[in-house]
């Protein structure tokens, strides 16, 4: 039996000095009376509970909440203190979990004991509380850590400073193929390839210095002798006093990672190749060059010994013919190869059935067998890959063929690569074909214009001449007016034919510019003067800001430009009466502006008016739409600039510039 002690209990027995020791004891203690009311607790208890229960009021336990070790809540009257007071049973020790008001949890060992008076009367109980949370944490942590190490997929090995293995987990067993019992006590060099033994010296050296070896990528040998790429992380292990006693080593098998990296690198390279080829071929509009480019690139990519591209074309006469390019072997070899004979092997490709890939085509039933093996003159093809080149409308336009004298040279990746390029090639070839058609049509059109204008010119010349003769011979009032009208019409016809001729010359780059030095102001005045005679409905407002403006230019051509702009101004302003013409001499050039108050141009027309055959639409005004095109060409050839400012419904102002002639002494 234990002697009771007291401090501030209700019984008010004389104070025992010993209680001061209890008050300040680091061991948590408290007492309850027979009814379970808390009669005393020391500071350590209050600290443990995280609160200060009310003396004489709270029952059995001062903790905020109490739980069984399995975590279920423990009612207050079932606490060990309550139990010992009710049942008078004495517990040796018992484990409980308490929750403090700040929601922290603690695991306690409790030691409740009954208290008896000197007379042996049962007067209550005292309880001693021991916080074992920290101990539990350590154990749990150790258990967790060993579980993590033991079951880690990655090999985790420890060794001492002599390189002798001291632990070997499941991951290590799996990756290196050695069991734990085989490896404990063995040197780590067991798994290091002979040519890498130096690494261990380096690693141990660093470990001894307390340094970590991180992301060390190397090769280790499995039990079966296979070498595997791994990434190592090695850290020193210290004992309780901080002395380095060994090393822990976490390895990672990076075979898959390396494979993936290689696959990604390969994929990226393939994509780059495809994109660079497609860029190259889409820039080209020449069929033969596309064929060659594609053949060379694909032959290189597949590692084929020889490659060829057969392309079916239809010429203007509707006859089929085949173009081809080759790589790795002279063209003649492919001629011997028997250009797309419709043999069974080729048929698959040219009918567009799909690619053919064979590790050994000589064993293919479709392959033409001859008793002596490969027919004479044929390329020694064993590995074979053929890819149809198909347009978007499913029309087969050709095929790509690759060969190698050794078997099994082409894989699925090659096939995929060639398929992508074949698709790009089909598009590029189709574009090239369309482009060739357009160019050929355009050339024929230009040739036609050149011929037509020349052919028109001959009858025009004679009609004009004879009309002139007629005019001289036989002129009475009536005939005279008929002849005048005819002459005027011939004049218009002559202008049209001459424009056509100019255009055909511009297209053929044969437009002649014969430069002379002349005063552009005088030319402008002359042209307007001559022109005015034929114009009855319009007046000309001429503004010239200078005396003379010399240029070195083709006088007739510049006259042509002025006449064109002025007659356009008249033609496109049927309801107004004035055309404004200004000439301005500037620092290095002159500018001539011709403005009308006519129908003007829509915004979208402004950029198009200088194009060939362009005409302001549906306005019932005659013309071929060539005048401004010729003007812009003439001005451009003189190093000048031509343009227009226009407002729809308000009128247009056309202008052009010409560089000034370098001044001579005499001009001043």
């Amino acid at each position: 039996m234990v002697k009771p002690f007291n401090s501030c209990g209700p019984d008010n027995e004389p104070a025992i000095p010993k209680h001061i020791l209890v008050d300040h004891s680091p061991v948590a203690m408290y007492t309850c009376d027979l009814l379970g009311r808390i009669t005393y607790y020391n500071r350590a208890a209050a600290q443990l509970w995280g609160r200060e229960p009310k003396i004489g009021q709270e029952l059995w336990s001062g903790s905020w909440k109490t739980y069984y070790p399995d975590g279920t809540p423990m009612p207050l009257d079932e606490t060990p203190m309550a139990a010992i007071l009710k049942n008078k049973n004495s517990f040796d020790q018992s484990e409980i979990t308490i929750e403090c008001p700040d929601h922290s949890f603690k695991t306690l060992l409790v030691f409740p004991r009954q208290l008896f008076s000197d007379q042996g009367t049962f007067i209550g109980a005292y309880n001693t509380l021991v916080d074992i949370s920290y101990k539990e944490n350590l154990e749990t942590r150790d258990a967790f850590l060993s579980a993590i190490v033991e079951h880690s997929q990655d090999p985790i090995i420890s060794k001492n400073l002599n390189g002798i293995i001291t632990s070997w987990n499941k991951g290590a067993e799996k990756v290196f193929g050695y069991q734990e019992q085989e490896m404990l006590g063995k040197p780590i060099t067991t798994i290091i390839p002979a040519d890498r033994l130096d690494e261990e010296t380096f690693i141990l050296d660093r470990i001894r210095k307390g340094k970590i070896v991180d992301h060390f990528e190397t090769i280790r040998v499995r039990k079966d002798g296979r070498k595997i790429p791994i990434s190592l992380m090695i850290s020193p292990i210290r004992n309780g006093s901080g002395k380095i006693i060994g090393a822990s080593k976490i390895a990672r098998d990076i075979s898959e990672q390396i494979k993936t990296q290689e696959a990604i690198a390969q994929y990226t390279e393939d994509l780059e190749t495809i994109s660079s080829i497609s860029r190259t071929i889409s820039e080209k509009l020449d069929v033969q060059k596309i064929l060659q480019e594609v053949t060379d690139a694909t032959t290189r990519l597949t590692g084929a010994a020889f490659g060829a591209f057969f392309y079916k074309m239809i010429n203007e006469e509707g006859e089929a013919y085949t173009l081809y390019s080759s790589s790795g072997a002279p063209k003649e070899a492919f001629e011997e190869f028997g250009l797309p004979r419709n043999t069974a092997v080729f048929h698959t490709t040219f009918s567009g059935e799909g690619p053919v890939r064979s590790d050994d085509i000589t064993k293919d039933p479709r392959y033409g067998h001859s008793p002596s093996g490969i027919p004479k003159g044929h390329l020694p093809v064993v590995s074979y890959l053929a890819m149809p080149v198909v347009l978007s409308d499913s029309k087969v336009i050709g095929g790509l063929f690759f060969g190698h004298p050794l078997p099994g040279r082409f894989n699925a990746r090659h096939e995929k690569l060639v398929a992508s390029i074949a698709a790009q090639a089909a598009t590029a070839l189709d574009n090239a074909r369309l482009f060739e058609e357009v160019v050929s049509l355009s050339t024929r059109k230009d040739e036609f214009i050149a011929m037509a204008s020349h052919e028109l010119n001959s009858p025009l010349t004679s009609v004009k001449g004879f009309l002139q003769l007629l005019n001289k011979k036989n002129r009475d009032a009536t005939c005279g007016s008929f002849i005048d009208i005819s002459m005027k019409q011939i004049g218009k016809l002559q202008k049209l034919v001459s424009d056509l001729l100019d255009v055909s010359k511009i297209k053929a780059e044969k437009l002649q510019i014969e430069k002379d030095r002349f005063d552009c102001k005088a030319l402008l005045e002359d042209v307007i003067q001559t022109y005015v005679q034929d114009i009855t409905n319009h007046s000309f407002n001429l503004k010239l800001n200078c005396q003379e403006v010399f240029v070195v230019a083709d006088k007739l051509r510049i006259e042509q430009v002025i006449v064109n702009l002025v007659s356009n101004a008249v033609k496109y302003s049927p309801k107004s009466t004035t055309v404004f013409i200004t000439l301005e001499k500037r620092a290095t050039d002159l500018i001539i502006k011709v403005a009308d108050q006519g129908i003007g141009l829509r915004e979208e027309e402004v950029t198009k008016v200088f194009g060939r055959f362009y005409r302001a639409e549906e306005r019932g005004i005659a013309g071929l739409g060539l005048g401004l095109y010729i003007c812009s060409e003439i001005v451009r050839r003189h190093g000048g600039e031509i343009g227009v400012n226009s407002e729809y419904g308000r009128g247009s102002e056309f202008y052009f510039t010409l560089p000034l002639a370098i001044e001579r002494q005499a001009d001043k």
């Binding site: 020349h454 004679s462 001449g465 002139q468 011939i490 002649q512």
Partner: protein
Amino acid sequence: MKKKVVVVEDDLAISELVRYILTEGNFDVTSFDSVDAFWEGMRDIKPDIFLLDIMLPDGNGHDICKELSANEATRHIPVVMMSAHFEKLDKECRFAEFIKKPFDIDDLISKVTQSVA
């Protein structure tokens, strides 16, 4: 005495017109419609002036002009060239005048007359 003019022009109507104008202008006109016919006919004629169209069915007036300019016997005889468009003519072709088609008949007669004078 009338001046002799040799005209090479493949278009019959133009050829007729030119013959008429030049005859009116007091010339003795001989015309050919091809390069071959011209060289064939040239064996018998000593003209005072040539009037050459440029585009011809079997060649061109430009080449005729070059040959005439290169030949001692003919290089002194003036040549007038005639075409639908201004052409860049070689320096070896030494011509007196260029007439653009369609031409003005007064212009034609005056250029030919001036060249032969």
